[in-house]
Every structure is written in structure tokens, then in C-alpha cells.
């Protein structure tokens, strides 16, 4: 059912946890399956220096959170916003069709965390803040 990559990120999740006093927090939920994800970011300048997640959800959701936080660490905010759920799923060597929405959750969590940061630090456009 799941690729080895998914199982690896599920069994050994990277960046699991919560950044205290995070600069950006995004919590998203999927009404269809009831799963919930919280992404916390540490941002310095325009760059994500740390990203952590907590996830209540299936293996695909946990692996997606793990992979998504890996992908955005060290990236600028705009680069991070360009990370789509498709990119997450691809990095995981694919997800079963009915589990694609789990990677969408990860994409949305990141967007929401960045939006939270921007809201707190000025307009979304003024990303140089």
C-alpha cells in the first residue's frame, strides 16, 4: 500500500514536535477524515530555519508532515510556498490515490503557518518585513 519512503517517514518522522514561541503556526484539519496537523515555524529574515509538526492522522499524513517540514527547512518563504502537495507526494515516492488528500493537508499547514507569520509581521506582500 505505502512506499518504503512513506513507511520510513512514518516510522522515523523528521521534525516531529512543536517549536516553542514559534514565529508562524498553522493548524489545519481535513473534515473528510477528521485528521489534524499543526506546523510550527522558526523564521529568520525571509528564511525558514526550523519547522516542526504534530499530526493526528494516518500514516500518509504523518509521513507527509515529516517530508514537508524537511522540504521547507532552509527555504525562503516564497520558495516554501512553492512546495505543493504534489511535490510532497513525489518526494515520498507516491501516495495511494485515496491518500493524496493527506499531502494536501501538509501543503495547507505550511501555507497557513506562513500566512500566520506574515499576518503577525506585516502584509503578505511585504515579505522582506
Amino acid at each position: 500500500m505505502y512506499s518504503e519512503r512513506v513507511m520510513d517517514h512514518f516510522m522515523n518522522p523528521r521534525n516531529m514536535g512543536e517549536i516553542p514561541d514559534a514565529d508562524g503556526v498553522g493548524e489545519v484539519g481535513n473534515p473528510a477524515c477528521g485528521d489534524i496537523m499543526r506546523i510550527t515555524l522558526r523564521i529568520e529574515g525571509d528564511r525558514i530555519v526550523d519547522a516542526k509538526f504534530k499530526t493526528f492522522g494516518c500514516a500518509a499524513a504523518i509521513a507527509s508532515s515529516s517530508m514537508a517540514t524537511e522540504l521547507i527547512r532552509g527555504k525562503t518563504l516564497d520558495e516554501a510556498l512553492a512546495v505543493t502537495n504534489k511535490a510532497v507526494a513525489e518526494a515520498l515516492e507516491g501516495l495511494p490515490p485515496q491518500k493524496l488528500h493527506c499531502s494536501v493537508l501538509a501543503e495547507e499547514g505550511i501555507r497557513k503557518a506562513i500566512a500566520d507569520y506574515r499576518a503577525r509581521h506585516g502584509s503578505p506582500e511585504a515579505s522582506g518585513g
Binding site: M7, I36, C58
Partner: protein, 405 residues
């Protein structure tokens, strides 16, 4: 032996010393076929392979083995062999019972009563009848998953043509007051069907004492082969055909008989019922040790289903803050085979309709684990689960944004 490391990020896969033997605790999903059963089946594939409807010796032999199996099934539930019809499984038996009675009684009425916690083989069959204009009442259950016989009484009308309530639930193991429900149905002249797929070999069944007019059973739930089952039809019950075609099963169920499968079903049910008096108490003791151990060592956990009116092999617990599939996959990595609810819905995103009907909130329904025991399970298996499961839950809770800090 090393157990699951609870530090996030630690490579559980490699540090855990995988047990060589699988701890299979999903007997409600399916059971291995017993070696004695396979042995009975084998000659039917290659040597005694005749079509029982033919006339020559080879075929007559096949018919004899078929009729022996029919008697074995009948004996297991206190029925007459003439009232046993072989099917391709529990699902077909449920479809036939409900659609067959509905079609044969269309002029009499259009109302069916069932419960909200039936297996999908019953629920979806009823829904398909609703599309054809039948009306269906899905009776509610209490928090333990029990149907109140009084609610059947209330729901019954002069248009009711069938009451169908399962003997025991496949997810939470709750046993229904089948005899009382049957009595209410009969008081109104309505036939009573029960899906006894999970009950056979676990609790005693007697169709006469319990007032059962139609009963579904499935071979692979008690050490028989998949793709075999039977419908008990009490003599004189009005029911149409479901599978049309040849004159097999006295003209009521067409299709070349699955002789090896039926022979296996017969042998398996005979063994299962014979061993029940010894096996059920033994499994119940393991079940109780599992339940007690889990509830004591894992906080914020509750037992789903009835505390006592419960299948001897069923454990079903809800863990707050965690999600079922994650539990299953971690247990799998540790060599434990378990499930969340019924196997056939595990691909779906919906929470279990059974747990929701029992009043569980959606997240808790999502965080449920079912362990169902079988005769090969040992006390050592129970120890292992009780050692590993708390670590799995703890690990997942640390990942969960819902857990209290």
C-alpha cells in the same frame, strides 16, 4: 528482546528485534484454514472432482460429501439439513435473506427493520432496497451497542416483512438479545433473520430455541475457507431466489456447488462447535487480561462494546488523541496484526458506523483498535501486546496536536 523505542526520531524499525512469529489478532477479519479442513478439501480438487449434479459414480460421490457437509452445518445450529443452503459467503447469505424475503413479500408489505450497527452486507443491502421503494428502519443502539427489543416492538407495523438483527457485532463484539427480538417479530407474524457470521463457534446457537427463521454464516470466520457460507432457511419461510440458474440446492440457489469449499465449511463448523466449550472460556480469559491490561496501563482509553455481553474473542478500545491506521501500521511493524473495525471498510475515511452509533465522537471512533483472538493465540502473545501497545500509543500521542501538553 528490545521493544519499541519511544523517542521520536529513533529508528524503531531497526532497533526492534522483530519477533519471528506473527501475533495474529484479527480473527474477526478472517482465520487461517485449519490443516484438518484443508486435508478434507484436498481430494475434492483433483480426484473426487465430480459435478454433484451429474449421474455417474464420480458425481454421486461428490453429492454424498455435499450432503455430509449439509448435515454438519445443520447440526451446528440445531437445524434440519433440508433447511441449509450453501452460498459463496456471509455477504451472499445476507443479500439473499433480505432481498429474497423482500421480493417474496412485496405484496404483503414494504417495511424492513434492522439495526444501525449491522455489517455492511446487511446495511448496504437494505439501502439498495430503499432505492427500490422499500422502507427501512435502522434501530438505534445503546452506548454498549445493544438493540432494545422494545424498540423493535415500537418500530413494527402491519407492513413489516422482516426483522434482521445480527447475533453478535463484528467490530465491538456485542451480543444481541436475539431470542427476545425474534419473539417480538413472531408476535407480529414477521420472520426474523440474524447475521450470525461472528457468532458461530463463539457462542451457542440453536435456531429453534432462539426463534431464528433465517441465519447467515461464513466459513472463513471459523477456520473454514473463504468464499463459503450458508443461509439457514426455516421450512415454509417465504423467500425468493437470489442466484438464478441451474437446479442446484433444490432449485433455490443456482451455480455449480463449490464442493471442496463446502466440504471444508462442514468440517470447520463441526470442529468449531465441538471445541467451543473449551475454547471460548480460554479466549475470554485472554480477552479480559488484554482489556484490563490496556485500560490500566494506557490513560484516556475506553472499552467499546458491552462489558459482559461480548464475544469471547473480542477486544475493542478507543484511545484518545491518536488515529487508528497509525496504530495498526506501527503494530504491524512490530509483528502484530490487528484492525480498527471491519476489514472491508478499512480503506474508507469514514469513522466506523458502529462506533458512531454507540455515541463515540468522531476522533475517538477514529482512534479505535480491535484485537480479536483465535485458538493459536497464546498468553505470551497477550504479554507481548500489553508490552508493546502502550509504547505505540505513547509515541503516537507525542506526535498528536490533540494530546494535552
Amino acid at each position: 528482546m528490545k521493544y519499541l523505542c519511544v523517542e521520536p526520531g529513533c529508528s524503531m524499525n531497526t532497533t526492534v528485534n522483530r519477533r519471528s512469529r506473527l501475533v495474529y489478532m484479527d480473527h474477526a477479519a478472517t482465520t487461517p484454514v485449519r490443516p484438518e479442513v484443508v486435508e478434507e478439501m484436498l481430494p475434492c480438487f483433483t480426484e473426487r472432482f465430480g459435478n454433484p449434479s451429474s449421474v455417474y459414480a464420480l458425481a454421486r460421490e461428490a453429492r454424498v460429501t455435499l450432503e455430509k457437509a449439509r448435515r454438519q452445518v445443520a447440526d451446528a445450529i440445531g437445524a434440519n439439513p433440508k433447511e441449509i443452503y450453501f452460498t459463496s459467503g456471509g455477504t451472499e447469505a445476507d443479500n439473499w435473506a433480505i432481498k429474497g424475503v423482500a421480493a417474496a413479500n412485496r405484496k404483503k408489505g414494504d417495511h424492513i427493520i434492522t439495526s444501525a450497527i449491522e455489517h455492511h452486507a446487511v446495511i448496504h443491502t437494505c439501502q439498495s432496497l430503499e432505492k427500490q421503494g422499500y422502507r427501512v428502519t435502522y434501530l438505534p443502539v445503546d452506548e454498549f451497542g445493544r438493540v432494545d427489543p422494545a424498540s423493535v416492538e415500537e418500530a413494527i407495523t402491519d407492513k413489516t416483512i422482516l426483522v434482521s438483527v445480527m447475533t453478535a457485532n463484528n467490530e465491538i463484539g456485542t451480543i444481541q438479545p436475539v431470542a427476545e427480538i425474534a419473539k417480538v417479530a413472531h408476535d407480529h407474524g414477521v420472520p426474523f433473520h440474524t447475521d450470525a457470521v461472528q457468532a458461530i463457534g463463539a457462542i451457542p446457537i440453536d435456531v429453534d430455541n432462539m426463534g431464528i427463521d433465517l441465519l447467515s454464516l461464513s466459513g472463513h470466520k471459523f477456520g473454514g475457507p473463504k468464499g463459503t457460507g450458508a443461509l439457514y432457511i426455516r421450512d415454509k419461510t417465504r423467500i425468493g431466489t437470489f442466484m438464478d440458474g441451474g437446479a442446484q440446492e433444490r432449485g433455490r440457489r443456482a451455480g455449480t456447488e463449490n464442493v471442496p469449499g463446502i466440504v471444508g465449511l462442514g468440517k470447520a463448523i463441526e470442529l468449531a462447535v465441538a471445541e467451543m466449550p473449551e475454547k471460548s472460556p480460554r479466549l475470554a480469559a485472554m480477552r479480559d487480561r488484554l482489556i484490563k491490561g490496556i485500560l490500566e496501563t494506557i490513560p484516556e482509553t475506553r472499552l467499546n462494546g458491552h462489558p459482559t455481553e461480548r464475544l469471547p474473542n473480542n477486544v475493542n478500545v478507543a484511545f484518545r488523541y491518536v488515529e487508528g491506521e497509525s496504530i495498526l501500521l506501527m503494530l504491524d511493524a512490530l509483528g502484530i496484526a490487528a484492525s480498527t473495525g471491519s476489514a472491508c471498510t478499512s480503506a474508507s475515511l469514514e469513522p466506523s458506523h458502529v462506533l458512531v452509533a454507540c455515541g463515540l465522537p468522531h476522533e475517538e471512533a477514529h482512534g479505535s483498535l480491535r484485537l480479536t483472538l483465535g485458538s493459536r493465540n497464546t498468553e505470551e502473545d497477550v504479554d507481548y501486546v500489553l508490552e508493546v501497545l502502550p509504547r505505540v500509543i505513547e509515541r503516537l500521542r507525542r506526535m498528536s496536536p490533540l494530546s494535552p501538553e
